[in-house]
Amino acid sequence: MSSSPGHDVILKLEDISKVYAGTVAVKHANFEVRKGAVNVLVGENGAGKSTLMKIIAGVEQPTAGRILLDGNEVSFSSSGDAVSRGIGMVFQELNLFGNLSVAENIFATRELTNAFRKIDHREQERRAAGFLEQLEAGIRPDMLVEDLRIGQQQLVEIAKAVSLDARILIMDEPTSALSAAEVEILFKVIADLKARGVAIVYISHRLEELIRIGDYITVLRDGRITGQEEMKNVDTQWIVRQMIGSDAKDFAKADGHRPGAEVFRTEEICLPRVTGGLAVDHVSLSLRAGEILGIYGLMGAGRSELFDCIMGRHGQASGRIFIDGRQVKERDTARRIQRGLALIPEDRQREGLVSILSVASNLTMASLSRFVSLFHIRGGAERQAVTQMVRELSIKVADPAQEVSSLSGGNQQKVVIGKALLTGPKVLLMDEPSRGIDVGAKADVFRTMRKLSRDGLGILFATSDLDEVMALSDRIAVMSNGKLTGMFERAEATEAAIVAASALGHGPVHGEQRR
């Protein structure tokens, strides 16, 4: 890696590894952070970016390896530890207290107090106002955080990190919920911080953004660092190559079977947002048997919310859905599953699995009625179904009685898929089915999707991965801001058209694209 003068290395990670139960998130990573520069970190979902940053911020401790700060080895036992050494972080998931005011959030854990240890609210609000003004956000410091838009909350998070006066500032997808104008302001703040010699670590999926503001770039793939360069030496293609690698993703090939008749249709699905407006905005689409319809969209585009509406998880949703041309009038999830809908949720841990139960119990949880005579679960029938599903999906598990939490991410995902399949669905909704699982399991999941569609299942799958949606879908729908903004046949879809449709309603993307 070529080094340029003036940008000293302030923090260095040497041979860092991090192992969680079931997965290795980071493998032997070496990473340098330079002063007065924007150090970009990029990689696909689940590549290990966030884990690496949590290690720097002291939230997670590395399983192996060394951290050098200013050339001295350090170890952070908590995030407070890292903060005291001048490392601040803007988290991807917002770490704010909704029930406290903006000023209280900014000064949380380091409250300004007077001589009697009483919090000096006036001083806190005065200083908070200063930081917020820098961000031109129009947020009053005495407002409750839960009353703010998500984008504004993200700005508060940024203000909080800036207020730390950190030497190293980590930003994990800081723009994911910001409008174009807000992004511009953020970039101004970043330039300002850079000029003051702050080292910034910047994580984002948006390549144009990275190329525009980055000075150095590091690419992660499957927990390994695959490239490290100065930004001026690289272009988009280089980044994509490093991200995806030569062993490009193993998308199972289309087998050319023809989709059948319409199996599923939604009409005018709407879901009001708590903060006003619509999270899902009059979405109507139709799906044929044996068809894979990919729904592409950025974070917050309303894909997951659409699936939630279809499954009947939101009482306040409106619109109509039809299976095999007959309207589904049932409003609760249980009866919609009986009608032939099944969802594989995005968040495996929170919504997909009961992690303390066994693999077998998880697999049959949604379909127990199939194995019941009168009220008795026939153990034999259940075991047989479990064994068959384990074999069909090649779930790697020694004994189905094992707790599901002991499996790797990919195998856990297969359990969630198996659970949905055992209900005998006609329509399968898959929300980010490849999120956080390794390459081999991804290939298995994609192969399974192909096979299911061949067997006549209609599959709706949501993803924010462009390659995935291009490779797997028979048709591609694009969502942005809750609306359906594009619908392409596989043959006529281009990446440019899809990306353009996914940005509709967000204002134009700034910055020239270097190629």
């Binding site: 139960a21 079931g22 949720p345 009961v354 139960l357 119990s361 127990l368």
Partner: protein
């Protein structure tokens, strides 16, 4: 249980797994420990009469603890069971003595079976109220059942103006005799209440293991969101566990009134705490998703034998409370240690597997 087959585990892991097995059996070991200790320390402890008497004491707590176990597995808590015991006892006593005055010059008297059914119905009804508060009105289980704790106790006191209903022998000409059978009757040499316990416990254990409802109880407690998305009718499951808890409490109310042949409105005060203690001692996790009926019964026996044994040894009741508290705390500490050891062993196995 002593010898593990040679091929079962590598030498390094086997130390961990023996310890793990011991920890898993801790409630059982504790039960044997208290039995052995008291049979040495307290004379007459092992006599058949004493064992049967203790079993009758334990049965009362065991009923409540079973109901409590299901509730806790779903991630809830039921503080109202003690009051339901009191109220149901009063309902039964009132019906035996007074019947129901129809306000038109007639009074309807029920026979004992009908009285028992009505009383059980009242217990289930209060459980249903708990369930409705929790599922429909989104009241936290702790608060909802705290509320019914006071309401039910108040109603029990109101029913007699705070007095005891004495002498529930009933009158032959009204057909209300025989109420004492539940508390004093015997079947094949064992008290009726023990038989009822056996039946209800087997039923509950069967329900937990072999029925969809039982599975769903665990699923709701393990991850309510995932259960809902999987089509589990979460609200129905919750309704059931609170109604079952109320049912168990009503049984206890009936048995106590029958044993004493009198109903006292303060009966059952702080019973809910003993029930929680037995469930926790039996390995039920307060965070939901884990627990077994068998473990809870053993837990109830440990607590019951401990207090009866200490009484026989003449230990002051103040010390009994201290000891009971310590036992519960130790049980939970061991439980946590077991979880940690378990996850370490699992990680080791996974690391070895690759």
């Amino acid at each position: 249980m002593t010898d593990i087959p040679a091929k079962a585990a590598a030498p390094s892991a086997s130390g961990g797994s023996v310890l793990l097995t011991l920890m898993k059996l801790r409630t059982f070991i504790a039960l044997i420990a208290v039995l052995v200790f008291f049979s040495i320390a307290a004379p007459n402890f092992l006599s058949a009469a004493n064992l049967i008497l203790m079993a009758k004491h334990v049965a009362l707590n065991a009923f409540l603890a079973m109901g409590m176990t299901f509730v806790i597995i779903t991630g809830g808590i039921d503080l109202s069971v003690g009051s339901i015991v009191g109220l149901c006892g009063m309902v039964a006593g009132y019906l035996v003595l007074n019947g129901i005055d129809l306000q038109i010059g007639y009074t309807v008297y029920f026979n004992v079976v009908e009285i028992a059914l009505i009383t059980l119905g009242i217990g289930i009804l209060i459980g249903a109220v708990n369930g409705l508060l929790i599922t429909r009105l989104n009241v936290a289980p702790f608060i909802a059942t705290l509320g019914t704790l006071y309401v039910a106790r108040g109603l029990a006191l109101l029913s007699s103006d705070g007095r005891t209903f004495p002498n529930l022998a009933g009158k032959p000409e009204l057909g209300t005799t025989g109420f004492g059978y539940l508390g004093a009757g015997k079947l094949l040499g064992l008290p009726v209440s023990i038989w009822i316990l056996v039946v209800v416990a087997l039923g509950a254990a069967y329900l937990a293991r072999y029925t969809p409802l039982g599975r769903h109880i665990f699923a709701v407690g393990g991850n309510e969101r995932a259960a809902r998305i999987s089509g589990v009718r979460v609200n129905m499951v919750k309704m059931f566990v609170y109604m079952f808890s109320g049912f168990c409490a009503a049984i206890v109310g009936l048995i106590i009134s029958s044993e004493l042949m009198a109903s006292h409105p303060a009966t059952g005060e702080s019973f809910e705490l003993n029930a929680i203690a037995a469930a926790v001692l039996g390995g039920t996790s307060m965070s939901g998703g884990r627990g077994t009926i068998g473990g809870t019964i053993v837990g109830a026996f440990v607590i019951g034998i401990l207090s009866d044994g200490l009484v026989m040894m003449g230990v002051s009741s103040f010390w009994q409370m201290v000891i009971k508290g310590l036992v519960i705390i130790v049980a939970v500490v061991v439980d946590q240690a077991q979880r940690r050891l378990q996850s370490r062993v699992t990680l080791l196995q996974m690391a070895k597997a690759g």
